[in-house]
Structure formats: structure tokens, C-alpha cells
Subunit: 134 residues, 2 copies
Amino acid sequence: MAKIIKLHHLGIAVHDDMAARSFWEDGLGLKVDHVEDVASQKSQVIFLPVGESEVELVKPLSDDSTVAKFIVDRGPGIHHVCFQVDNITEMLKQLKEKNIRIINEIPMKEEGRLMAFIHPKSTGGVLVELYEVL
Amino acid sequence: MAKIIKLHHLGIAVHDDMAARSFWEDGLGLKVDHVEDVASQKSQVIFLPVGESEVELVKPLSDDSTVAKFIVDRGPGIHHVCFQVDNITEMLKQLKEKNIRIINEIPMKEEGRLMAFIHPKSTGGVLVELYEVL
């Protein structure tokens, strides 16, 4: 049976990245590890490590990105939580067996990782992402 | 300067605790550590450890609890994120100096911990809780 290893990151939708950085960096004292454009999500991500996890500030780079739509609908704030699993293929199989709705039945491959989202309708309103680090 | 130690927990507002447990326990395979009634929050909390963090499923026990109102306004889902700090008094002082709005300027004392919430208006829409473990 596949297992969750840790809470990998918390994805936070921001529309003003400088204001957001001001709170997380100057206020809470977290340090930015790096900033990355994620083409597949049409967004820019600021990575701030916290213990074994990360806070990821996700700023849309296009109005038709998922995160831009989320901000229009619900305002900025927590967008998703990502858990690292030991085997994403096994995990998705066991979730499907429980009739849990997967957004990406075949995991997407990004730099160094496989990833898939679980539909909030099957999780009690939480957009859950799964990562397998390669 | 006060420091964040780790992401302590993610608080998830649920209206149907059995359905929520079904996803987190049977689906993802997390284990319930314990269940606790938190009188000050008029809610029941189910604790599921994940790595060095926890998922906390928060079910309102009263219609006038903060979490019940959150569910009416926004539906069930991620309610807040809590970070453990080494010194909450110092952290609140340094946040106030940056004009960040604190909900509990004097930390509340619960069993084994001091806690305070930061207002989402100062964080980009995220309800942030701080814990100092005693």
C-alpha cells in the first residue's frame, strides 16, 4: 500500500507577490529559496522552506490560469495542499478503488517529480496534490 | 528575532466528519492519533499526523462557532495553517512592528501551548495561527 511521507507544501494564491513576500519574509522571517516560472500552471512560484515543508506563493502569469480563476472566485489565500507519497501510481490506484475522483489519472511529469491533483469534490472541499519525487 | 520552527498543522473545516475521515483515513491511509473537543473553539478536532506536521479535521459543535460560520460562507475546506514558533511573544511583537494585524494580541493559553491568530487581511487572505509549545 502506498504511503504519504510528509506535507510537501502549501500552495497559496497571491495577486500581489510583493505584498505577500512582505508578510512571509519580513513579517514571519521565512527565506525565499528560489523563484520559478511553471509554464504548465501559467504561474510564477516563490518557494519558502519551513521545516521539512514549503510555503509556495503562486502568482498567476495569465488571466486564464487556474490560479487566476481561483482568485477571481474566492480571493487570494490557500489554494492547495501537497503531500509527498512514496509511490504515486499505487496511491492513485488505491484512491480510485475507493471511488475518489482524480483530476490527473495519469500523473503529470515535471522536473524531478510526478504529480496529480485529487478533485475537491472527493476530499471535502480541499484541493489535494500528490507528489512523487523521482 | 523569533523564528518559525515548522508547519505545525493544517486546519480543515468539515461538516461531515465521517465522510472526511473516509477520505483521509481510508483513501490516503493517514492514522487518527486522537480526537479532542476544543471548548474555546466550540469544535471537535480529529488529529492525523503527517511527517512532522498534522492534518486537523475541525468539525463545529455549535452553529455560532467560527468554523461553522466559515463553512456557511465558503463551504468546507482548508480553514487555517498553523506554524510553530520558538517564542510567540517575540514573534507577535515583531509582527506588530510591521503593522501586521494580530487577532489575539495576548496569546491564548491552551493545554501545553500558547496560540494566536493573525488576521487574513494582513496575510493575503490566509488565516495564520502561531503556536508556542510549552
